[in-house]
């Protein structure tokens, strides 16, 4: 509603905008593929976030963990020889390691030095993007040795075709097969959180640290594992973006993460930390992103979608809060009138 009004305010028909968004994300032939391609990293970031939230941790540095994961993946791709599928697997693993390393720094500081992870994860985002920027200036790290001067001087070597994620076409929609991997991982994590001792212990730690300690569940061990897993998934998201083909054409570039880490965080928030809700929510947010490409045809600034996105998060989170406040007001008012 509000977003509709806003679009009207800048002088355009809001139905046209909605149509463009839907066309761009799902309606036009083949658009599902692109949207799925964006859904994959979003869902990976979100499921990782859910793990750390379960343990009572606030990891908000997925953007940085994703970038480091992507950088590790790029580094692995340029250094490891071997058959394509094997290298591809190593690239993904390198992504996981990179992301885990980055969140592990925050986790370590949290449990050995009692530094709040909210701060460290957030601050490490800035460190990550600058470090990777540095890497992209140096051929011995990430820079493509053959990069020409000019606007292409800060890119990594493009992945050779045999180490890219295979893409398949279903009903005219082309997307990387990692979509299946992502779905499997989400189901696995959802199952593990609910049905295994690991998930159980994690939940106890997240809900009541004292009870956990009393029953011999180590808060730092569980928290550290959750932090590493959380970063690992963000790193994996980075590696999947690199190999998937829907982002930056199989290269690491400055600004590679294009806010996927932040939006993934929103996905987890809106999914209310339920693994089962991650896939549809990630798809909705991915749709907003891919649909925004079609907005240009209506002549509206692309950034409008960012605003729409923000409003959507508010729309999903506000109703419970507003209901709560209204309920309270009503109770107070009726109590006053009756007494």
């Amino acid at each position: 509603m509000i977003s509709g009004l806003m679009v009207e305010a800048v002088g355009f028909e809001w139905t046209a905008v909605g149509e463009a968004l839907l066309n761009g994300s799902v309606l036009k032939p083949g658009r599902w593929g692109g949207t799925i391609g964006v859904t994959i990293p979003l869902a990976m970031v979100a499921i990782g976030t859910i793990i750390s939230t379960k343990a009572g941790l606030v990891n908000i540095g997925q953007e940085g963990q994703l970038v480091v994961g992507a950088a590790f993946a790029t580094f692995a791709s340029t250094r490891v020889p071997g058959p394509g599928p094997f290298v591809l697997l190593l690239i993904l693993l390198a992504g996981v390691v990179g992301g885990s390393l980055w969140s592990g720094i925050a986790g370590g500081l949290r449990y050995w030095r009692k530094v709040p992870e909210v701060l460290t994860t957030l601050l490490l985002v800035a460190v990550a993007s600058n470090l990777v920027g540095y890497g992209l200036k140096n051929p011995w790290l990430l820079l493509d040795p053959e990069a020409k001067v000019g606007n292409r001087n800060l890119v990594s070597e493009q992945l050779p075709p045999d180490t890219r994620m295979p893409r398949i076409t279903l009903w005219g929609n082309e997307f990387p097969v990692s979509a299946f991997l992502a779905v499997a991982l989400i189901l696995l994590v959802g199952w593990m959180l609910n049905r295994t001792l690991w998930g159980y212990r994690l939940t106890v730690v997240g809900k009541n640290r004292r009870v956990a300690q009393r029953f011999g569940i180590s808060e730092s061990a569980q928290g550290m594992i959750a932090m590493l897993a959380s970063g690992g998934f963000a790193g994996l998201a980075g590696a999947l973006m690199l190999t998937g083909g829907d982002f930056a054409n199989y290269r690491l570039v400055p600004g590679f993460s294009v806010n996927i880490g932040w939006i993934g965080l929103l996905v987890a928030l809106v999914a209310n930390n339920r693994a089962s809700a991650v896939i549809p929510m990630a798809f909705v947010f991915a749709g907003l992103r891919t649909g925004s490409g079609f907005l240009a045809s209506t002549g509206i600034e692309r950034r409008v979608t960012d605003v729409v996105q923000g409003l959507m998060v508010l729309a999903l989170l506000l109703p419970p809060a507003i209901m709560f406040i209204r309920e309270r007001r009503r109770a107070l008012a009726s109590a006053r009138s009756r007494v």
Binding site: T196, L197, V204, K207, R214, F215, G216, A335, V339
Partner: protein, 511 residues
């Protein structure tokens, strides 16, 4: 008819969801009386009092102060109407001095001399002696309560509400408190509402008693015309076995006089255990005692004198700075994760929400806490097994809930306590630490818990019973140790114990 009552309520009701916490409650509190409000936990006493001081807004009904209808949306309005309350948990700032605390909430310029002399006057007038320049942190609980009372009295309230005031006091301190309350009431025509679940207090102190049950007033009577049995019946709605300190009832299972208990092996030993607060002050000081198999050892003491620290040590939540703790002769390093569980120590914690249960998880998940590995194979939880185990425990311990998957927060306090009890007892412990096991429970549940504790002891488990209710200790314990500021001030067998003797030791006198 005399003057209108200081405070009275007409058909006052408050619902929380589907539960009627107070249902059409009528009470009258007159000037110049101490009015007792008696009821089990959950009977609606606290909700009623909270409505009087504006912490809870009623759904319907009216409140009359001196005969005129008023609305009390918040505590500030309540104060201006002359209603003040001394809460069970004090609201004092520990780092400040007594007079600074008394001045809290004042507006405008703060006059040190005026406040200090006011404190002095009030102390004098009501026999509530306290040094206005002392830091609250340095004061024992009894004196802190005085500060709280002075703070209330300075606002010249016409009615003073006390919520369970004696739970933190020694018997002597309670007597003193009631003497000064009597003074407040008789000299100045103020009224006092005393909220409590202790029958003896009601009988000794109050002029009239209102008894509440399930959110309604069941009876209002003149104290002099009633007795403990009648009060208890009215409170619970049926005949109950009254706890009597003077004669411990016969015990099922044949324990009782256990001449042989001295020869039984100790299951828990404390050897010169010392715990220091991070600031350096002693919380446990050279504590040495042992607990034998099948014995109930009562730890008496005013709250906050080390009981919690002992429970925390045995829960693996803290560790000692010196000394040794041993279970069945084997030293236990309580700082190691899970060491206390492995050693066979079960704990019913003082505050179950703090370290006893996880409110957001289900009953089944809470029941499986003590042995999750036993209910899973290769890291996967055996849902059917957990379900079966919880249904069994829910039946055996008569836990009222909608099933194993009910979230813990939907259970009442008494049923949450049963979950803790069920889990800790079935863990087959060697030592059971029961810290304030009946706190916040209604009379029926208290009966149940004490019976369970006796049975567990009869089966050979050593029970360390910590309670601020002397009656409970005198009823259950075979042997009693008294602690004061983390030190042991006395040890005696049940037969050698008396209220007076323990009372003195609780106040710090050495044996």
């Amino acid at each position: 008819m005399g003057p209108p009552p200081a405070v009275c309520t007409r058909l006052l009701s408050k619902n929380f969801g589907a539960v009627a916490a107070c249902d059409a409650v009528d009470i009258e509190i007159h000037r110049g009386e101490i009015h007792g409000i008696l009821g089990e936990n959950g009977a609606g006493k606290s909700t009623l009092m909270k409505m009087l001081i504006g912490l809870v807004v009623p759904d319907s009904g009216s409140i009359l102060v001196d005969g005129s209808s008023v609305q009390i949306p918040d505590p500030v309005v309540a104060a201006s109407l002359g209603i003040g309350m001394v809460h069970q948990h004090f609201s004092l700032v520990e780092a400040l001095t007594v007079w600074e605390n008394v001045a809290l909430g004042d507006e405008g310029r703060l006059s040190r001399t005026a406040v200090r002399s006011a404190v002095g006057d009030l102390s004098e007038r009501y026999g509530l002696h306290v040094d206005p320049d002392a830091r609250v942190a340095d004061l024992p609980v009894g004196l802190r309560q005085r500060v709280e009372i002075i703070k209330c009295l300075r606002r010249e309230p016409s009615i003073l509400i006390f919520d369970e005031p004696t739970s933190v006091l020694t018997p002597e301190e309670s007597d003193e408190l009631f003497r000064s309350l009597r003074g407040v009431v008789e000299q100045e025509g103020r009224s006092v509402a005393l909220v409590s679940h202790k029958l003896t207090e009601m009988l000794e102190v109050t002029d009239r008693v209102t008894i509440m049950r399930n959110g309604t007033v069941v009876e209002c009577c003149v104290t002099a015309e009633t007795d403990a049995g009648a009060l208890a019946r009215a409170m619970v709605g049926r005949d109950v076995r009254l706890r009597s300190a003077e004669q411990a009832p016969p015990v099922p299972g044949g324990y009782g006089v256990r001449s042989g208990s001295a020869e039984r092996p100790p299951v828990l030993e404390f050897r010169h255990v010392e715990v220091r607060e991070s600031g350096g002050s002693m919380e446990l000081d050279d504590l040495t005692f042992d607990l034998r198999a099948g014995e109930i050892l009562g730890v008496a003491g005013v709250e906050g004198n080390g009981q919690r620290v002992i429970a925390d040590l045995l829960s693996g939540l803290r560790s000692q700075s010196r000394g040794e703790i041993a279970v069945s002769g084997v030293t236990v390093d309580v700082s190691r994760h899970g060491a206390t569980i492995e050693a066979g120590i079960a704990v019913i914690p003082e505050d179950r929400h703090d370290s006893g249960i996880v409110l957001e998880m289900t009953v089944a998940e809470n029941l499986m806490l003590s042995d999750p590995s036993g209910l899973s194979s290769r890291g996967v939880i055996d849902r059917a097994g957990v379900d079966e185990m919880s249904r069994d425990l829910i039946d055996r311990f008569a836990i009222m809930c909608t099933g194993p998957d009910a979230p813990m927060w939907t259970l009442s306090g008494g049923n949450q306590q049963r979950v803790v009890l069920a889990r800790e007892i079935t863990a087959a412990p060697k030592v059971l630490v029961a810290a304030q096991p009946t706190r916040g429970l209604d009379v029926g549940a208290i009966e149940y818990v004490t019976d369970q504790l006796r049975q567990v002891a009869a089966s050979g488990v050593g029970i360390l019973l910590m309670s601020s209710e002397l009656d409970e200790i005198l009823e259950l314990a075979d042997r009693i140790v008294v602690i004061y500021r983390g030190r042991m001030t006395g040890e005696m067998t049940r037969s050698a114990a008396s209220r007076e003797k323990i009372g003195l030791l609780m106040g710090g006198d050495q044996l």
